[in-house]
């Protein structure tokens, strides 16, 4: 895989998340019944940031959960052998909540579809939003994001890498090409 370009640097990631936090508060008309659920792995780091930003702007700390969707995927037979199942922990009652699902990249929509099923298995939120740092297009399912950090037209041979301070040592969004070399 070869590096092509840096799409967002740390400051730009911070600004995108700040804007998303404001949009969430605006759309939800405050923090009433609001909560965040991050999808493993980088969605969790991004959800933590959003919880902190919302607290800074509104003075309210809203609850947060984490979601593993591995065994909910519809392509298990293709991806295969060793499922990497991680923790699902939603330490509050989802019933009646306005949930913001957080993921790093929205691509085919299959992860988001699986996340909706995994979430609904845990309770009945009154509403579910989807927030992503990057929407790179190429949807295979009728799914869209409510909050998007950056719309990025890509080709299928490209890979969008989201890096976070917690997982990768820096905040950035990068575009890579699946190398023929």
């Amino acid at each position: 895989m070869t590096f092509k370009s840096r799409i967002l640097n740390a400051d730009e990631v911070r600004r995108a998340l700040t804007r998303i936090a404001h949009e969430v508060i605006e759309k939800n008309k405050g923090t009433q019944r609001l909560c965040f659920v991050g999808i493993h792995t980088r969605g969790i780091s991004l959800a933590k940031r959003l919880v902190e930003l919302v607290e800074r702007f509104e003075g309210q700390r809203v609850p947060m959960g984490i979601l593993d969707i591995t065994l909910y995927r519809d392509d298990l037979t293709e991806i295969g052998l060793q499922p990497r199942v991680r923790e699902t922990r939603i330490p509050f009652d989802l019933n009646g909540k306005a949930v913001v699902l957080v993921d790093d990249v929205l691509y085919t929509g299959r992860t988001a579809r699986a996340a909706l099923d995994a979430l609904i298995d845990q309770g009945r939120p009154s509403r579910i939003y989807l927030a992503v740092l990057v929407d790179r297009g190429h949807r295979e399912l009728p799914i869209r994001a409510d909050f998007v950090g950056k719309n990025l037209p890509t080709s299928r041979s490209e890979v969008v890498k989201v890096k976070t301070l917690e997982d990768d040592g820096e905040d950035a969004v990068e575009l890579w090409e699946v190398g023929e070399t």
Partner: protein
């Protein structure tokens, strides 16, 4: 993702290599995570139909398998022979082929005759999981034993595991003797001379309990079938108890804190001292809990993943 492929059946461990077994146990660890959730159900096996076909009665193993399949959203049907066609003279092969016409994706098979799961695999060309065949093999029991041992002891490399009791008639002992050395452990099987086989591949044999237990990192007691005495293999129950019952005093011969396992169902105060079975040294209940996660992992691997 690991690049290894897996055998699409679990008859015994002949075709399984260490890396595959380690990977399977790692998947079982992942399944524990699912079992710890408030909603213990995932859609991984949606659309698959699994049949438990038990020509020999067993409630616990069957329930464990059925729950494992259901927790991953497979459809489950169960066939038990007591009230069914074998009583009317139908052969194993005809019974299985009849079921196969109904679109079963995998079979979990228990038989009193050794080797039937192997034949079933040839007849059906579908994944077959051996849930116990005669005295020959009970691989998911051995896997859950290995899983429980690793949970307690860490890696089994160089660990000494003593298996005590009626080794001759035990498919649990045979499967453990096959599996545990593949994971690096050393197995010593111990029992009265009349209840030991001539040889047990993978294990050393002894009639001396103290020799078996000394330096052992874990001890596994086997169920003593009381009907063995009718066949003259044991002089009397008190004599077996005097020589081979695992008591707290005898467990002290093993390494400090060496855990005690038993595949169940237990004869309290026969092969195992009743109070010891309830003590913190005993992992018996843990084995049952782990059995479900291990069976989920086995079903996942035989049904899902690249062929």
């Amino acid at each position: 993702m690991s690049g290894a492929t897996f055998p699409k059946h679990l008859l015994d461990f002949q075709e399984w290599e260490r890396a595959q077994l380690e990977s399977l146990l790692e998947t079982a660890q992942m399944m524990q995570e699912v079992l710890a959730r408030p909603v213990k159900k995932v859609p991984a096996l949606t659309g698959f139909t699994v049949a438990t076909v038990f020509f020999e009665p067993s409630t616990r193993t069957r329930i464990s398998f059925e729950l494992a399949a259901r927790r991953m959203s497979a459809d489950v049907v169960s066939f038990t022979s007591s009230a069914s066609s074998t009583a009317k003279g139908e052969t194993y092969r005809d019974t299985l082929r009849t079921l196969d016409q109904m679109g079963i994706d995998a079979y979990i098979l228990r038989t009193d005759a050794a080797g039937v799961p192997h034949q079933a695999h040839r007849w059906l060309q579908k994944p077959v999981i051996n849930a116990g065949d005669g005295w020959r093999a009970h691989p998911t029991q051995a896997l859950l034993d290995a899983f429980t041992l690793r949970e307690k002891l860490g890696s089994l490399e160089g660990k000494k595991i003593a298996i005590v009791g009626d080794i001759l008639h035990s498919r649990v002992a045979r499967s453990n003797a096959e599996l545990l050395p593949r994971l690096g452990a050393q197995v010593v099987a111990c029992g009265p001379a009349t209840l030991l086989p001539g040889k047990l591949p993978g294990a050393s044999l002894t009639t001396k309990l103290r020799e078996a237990l000394e330096e052992a990192d874990a001890v596994m007691a086997l169920r003593l079938q009381k009907e063995r005495m009718d066949k003259g293999l044991l002089p009397s129950l008190p004599e077996y108890i005097a020589g081979y019952q695992i008591t707290e005093a005898r467990l002290a011969w093993a390494k400090p804190e060496a855990p005690l396992l038993h595949p169940g169902p237990m004869n309290r105060d026969v092969e195992i001292e009743g109070t010891l079975a309830d003590s913190p040294r005993s992992l018996v209940e843990r084995q049952v809990a782990n059995g479900q996660a291990v069976r989920m992992a086995v079903l996942y691997h035989v049904l899902v993943g690249k062929r």
